[in-house]
């Protein structure tokens, strides 16, 4: 049985961003690179890294910035994107994100060897998330 659309859920701990959305395909930033999902995909699990999720909703193309998380395609063909955070492109404050990115980059360079691993990881995560926001909004 061939389907022409997939059911897409974008879920975050602060509530679902989109639920039961019918899309013809979706592009996701995976750990091993950008990947596209089309209808009738096999059950599949892969990590999602901070980046931009793209799909078409009717005639408009939607871009959503996501944090780290998971992509799960169930046996019934449902696609769930489980991410720690997600922002629609019109919810993003690009100016603030750019400023914060400059600050984070500065800190990463300035404190290259004076901070511990946990602090470094925190900054890198923040950097990825800010870059994702800027790309989603542009």
């Amino acid at each position: 049985m061939a389907h022409t659309s997939i059911k897409l859920d974008i879920l975050t701990p602060l509530g679902p961003k989109r639920r039961n959305l019918e899309v013809s395909g979706v592009e996701i930033p995976g750990l091993n690179g950008e990947l596209g999902v089309l209808p009738d995909h096999v059950p599949f699990v892969t990590p999602v890294v901070p980046g931009v999720v793209r799909f078409r909703e009717g005639e408009t193309s939607v871009r959503i910035a996501v944090g780290a998380g998971f992509l799960e395609i169930g046996a019934d063909g449902r696609v769930a994107i489980l991410v720690e955070r997600a922002l629609e492109s019109d919810e993003i404050d690009v100016g603030a994100a750019r400023e914060a990115l400059v600050r984070v980059n500065g800190e990463l360079v300035a404190q290259h060897d004076s901070i511990d691993a946990a602090e470094h990881r925190k900054l890198v995560t923040q950097q990825g998330w800010l870059e994702a926001q800027i790309r989603a909004a542009s």
């Binding site: 975050t12 602060l14 509530g15 679902p16 059950p43 892969t46």
Partner: protein, 301 residues
């Protein structure tokens, strides 16, 4: 007349108290809706994540588990257990903090009786104040709010994993534990919150789904082991988030209930005092009348 004045003063002060408690109860009622909605909104995420963990972990036996990822393996030999005590920052919420604190203390006592050291991380000021000097507290955080729940869960999760993973070269790590537990208030209903202690680490494979049918094992990319490395930290964060949502909703619900009953008590007390006041007033008037009559009688005679 000093007595009458005293009673009037008390009525006034109880009325003021009632104003405060009823305002607090109304505020809590309004916030409760929001907290419940947030907890409800978080549920689909938690459930799907649990399904993914289940799909990944099922099939891995005990021995295989620790080979797949250190956070899955059972360990002994450190003779130490970790406890995360999740309370609120503020009191005036009935037995909310006391219950979870007592459950935590019982846990600590039991572990110590069995000769294990307990490493405590507190979230929420009330837990820290309660354990205070009796127990060394390794790290402490303030209670989460609905706005910073994700960040707070992340911070705590990082420390939880540090209790289990040896630190990287040249860094001071936290004491290593055999297992890590979390004590929190489970939001059973608006009227009841139940202190619970659950094991966070090592990650236990969730129970098989109730439906019983084995789902088709999905494809994993990359392989299972590296996927677990990515997934388990997120799963631990999600578990902490769920507990925090429960705790926040529970705190507000407990405060509402406590403040509501305080308001009721105040109303009752005001009623009693007013009755007393009127009786005293009446007695005074009667006494005065008797004196006047007595005086008049004396003049007649």
């Amino acid at each position: 007349m000093a007595n009458l004045k005293e009673i009037r003063g008390r009525i006034g002060s109880v009325k003021n108290t009632r104003k405060i408690t009823s305002a607090m109860s109304r505020i809590a009622a309004a916030r409760l809706v929001k907290a419940q909605q947030a907890a409800l909104a978080a549920r689909p995420y938690g459930e799907r994540l649990e399904e993914v963990v289940r799909a990944l972990v099922t099939g891995a036996s005990e021995g295989e588990g620790s080979a797949l990822h250190p956070l899955l393996g059972h360990r002994t030999g450190n003779n130490r257990v970790g406890l995360i005590l999740l309370t609120a920052d503020r009191g005036l919420a009935g037995g909310f903090n006391a219950n979870v604190n007592r459950a935590g203390l019982t846990f600590i006592k039991r572990e110590q009786a069995e000769g294990r050291e307990v490493v405590v991380i507190t979230v929420g000021k009330k837990g820290r104040a309660f354990l205070g000097s009796a127990q060394k507290i390794e790290r402490s955080h303030e209670a989460p709010t609905l706005a910073n729940i994700v960040e707070r869960a992340k911070e705590v999760a990082a420390e939880v994993m540090a209790l289990f993973e040896p630190p990287a070269e040249g860094q001071v790590g936290l004491p290593q534990c055999d297992s890590v537990h979390l004590a929190y208030n489970y939001f059973k209903s608006v009227l009841t919150q139940e202190p619970r202690i659950v094991q966070v680490l090592p990650v236990k494979a969730p129970e098989p789904s109730a439906s019983g049918d084995q789902p088709v094992p999905p494809l994993f990319e990359p392989d299972r082991a590296s996927l677990l490395g990515h997934l388990l930290p997120i799963a631990i964060e999600a578990q902490l988030q769920q507990a925090m949502f429960n705790s926040i909703a529970g705190e507000i619900a407990a405060r509402r209930t406590a403040m509501e009953s305080a308001t009721d008590n105040a109303t009752q007390l005001i009623g009693e005092l007013t009755l007393h006041y009127n009786r005293e007033r009446q007695a005074a008037i009667t006494k005065e009348l008797m004196e006047i009559i007595g005086g008049a009688e004396a003049l007649k005679g």
